[in-house]
Symmetry: C2
Subunit: 327 residues, 2 copies
């Protein structure tokens, strides 16, 4: 395609090895020769073929990333942070989407490995032992997004259970005695999906048990309608803890439309701190899951593993309660 080391060698009247030496500053080379070579390389617009280099070095300087999709801000923010970290280290990102399909996911892994990526960062479509095994048998290291201390694989994420418990306690301390957990439809019912939401649900259940509160879960497609129905029936002032800012905002809108006012009639709290411009009167209370830091740290971990370091097996990123004005 372009000009190669072979061309340069011919033009400069030296061997290709000398060209390499000039270009890399490795080995010993006469300053003038080097100078001359670099100048002609510049003049001819020489650009190294990184594919060829990868082939011989056995290192592609690219990382494969697999997430469900980029519609959700969650992953795009994470990848944004990851990319910055990686480009600093001269790595390129191959981003692919499994769309919650395990077969697609496996195919993507094969393709990426075929492209000789140096490592993989995955937010998996499912979470079973067999998959960790599969990942561990790959010829490249991989990091999984999401805190999963029992998994036989390197993971990075916040402790969703603990974070949800903190959120419940936070709401409780604000005087709410009726705390309802709102989980949106989880795509598949096989409990393999949305690990995060399941962990949050578990955290909620534990927390209300500890506080000896009534356990109340609103779940599924019609969650907005169900919330309104609940409000109509109850005589209390409940708080809705929603497993995601997006759902909290939808719920907030629905409640306001039905004439209920936040704090006076209900409390509401989100999760994820998506920092969605919330064209509302109040700032949403939520849990910041530090998604950008997760991205950075996942990148960092993977780089370490590529370098051959042992690495932390399960990196727990701290979360943070954002007080807001809705609870």
């Amino acid at each position: 395609m372009g000009v190669t080391t072979k061309d340069l060698a011919k033009i400069c009247g030296v061997s290709r090895a000398t060209i390499t030496r000039a270009l890399h500053g490795t080995g010993s080379i006469k300053p003038e020769t080097k100078q001359m070579i670099l100048e002609t390389a510049e003049k001819m617009g020489y650009q190294p073929d990184l594919l060829a280099r990868s082939l011989v070095k056995g290192v592609s300087m690219t990382i494969g990333v697999i997430v469900v999709d980029l519609k959700n801000q969650y992953f795009s923010k994470m990848i944004n942070a990851m990319e910055k970290k990686m480009i600093e280290n001269k790595y390129l990102l191959n981003i692919t989407l499994h769309e919650n399909d395990h077969e697609i996911e496996k195919m993507l892994i094969r393709t990426l490995v075929g492209h000789r990526v140096d490592g993989l960062i995955i937010s998996p479509s499912g979470y079973d032992q067999a998959f960790w095994k599969y990942l561990n048998e790959l010829p490249v290291p991989s990091v999984v997004i999401g805190h999963k201390p029992e998994a036989e694989i390197t993971t990075v994420g916040i402790d969703e259970k603990k974070a949800t418990r903190s959120a419940v306690n936070f709401i409780y301390e604000r005087g709410y005695k009726h705390i309802v957990f709102v989980v949106p439809p989880l795509k598949r019912a096989d409990s393999k999906d949305n690990m995060g939401h399941h962990q949050r649900l578990e955290g909620y259940c534990n927390a209300v048990k500890e506080l000896q509160l009534e356990q109340r879960i609103i779940y599924g497609e019609q969650y907005l309608e169900k919330i309104i129905q609940y409000m109509k029936k109850t005589k209390e002032r409940p708080a809705f803890l929603c497993s995601g800012d997006v759902f909290a905002i939808e719920a907030y809108g629905a409640l306001r439309k039905s004439g209920y006012l936040e704090k006076r009639d209900f409390g509401i709290m989100g999760f994820d701190h998506m920092d969605i411009p919330f064209g509302a009167l109040s700032k949403l209370s939520t849990v910041d899951n530090h998604i950008e830091e997760i991205g950075e740290q996942a990148a960092e971990q993977l780089l370490g593993m590529i370098r051959g370091e042992r690495g932390v097996r399960h990196l727990e990123i701290p979360y943070k309660i954002i007080e807001g004005e809705t609870v």
Copy 2:
């Protein structure tokens, strides 16, 4: 690293050429030999080295993508659509972020070209003739995001000017005689950035001139404060056309907080149709710029160019006014 065609050749007792033939079904090969080779390949878990293949074929099956960042839903949605289209065609995406820095952008282009991407999709940090020339001189085809009919390069996008005029007319027809255009701070003041916003501004100016309305632009950092100030002074019922849903939602929140009610006291319209869960009482009126279609079509165009087709020089994607309830 893994098992290679060389290994397979040795095990099967044939030459590497025969292995290739079996694997690709090209050339003539005895059915039983093929069968046998495929079986052992399967058994040994053979995975082709796509880098080596790329090197010899001169085709990497990856596309380089350069956008400002992924914080903005705009680009993540676009890339989401692009990725799907590309993966269908067996292409991988190398996504990189220039962060509005022209030097980084050039570096990224060099890196991607060095990795022998088969094509480039760019939402550039700047828009000048020199850059189109630079792109055209690259050894790979490229597609630019954004409608730019005068550029010497293939572009894909909506006609921002026309769309903004439509929006102004839409607002006017709804009875508003005072239409204020709200542009947020454009990162750099050198008019190179945010081509889209500049085009929209131009469209707005043309439209109000045609309608013989007063031209009023609210611009810069303190736009929220300026909007409120404007409301306090005016005796009319103005409409705010915001160059972006995100800003519209912020503005909406600020106006509501100051006690103004949409439709009764003001109208407001966005741009981009980010479909942000809008925890508000009304559905935001906006312009749908079909960002996903832009992503798909950019991918489609590039694929065509890689195949050697001539391609449309400037592909205009239709926009659509979303009526909403705020104007």
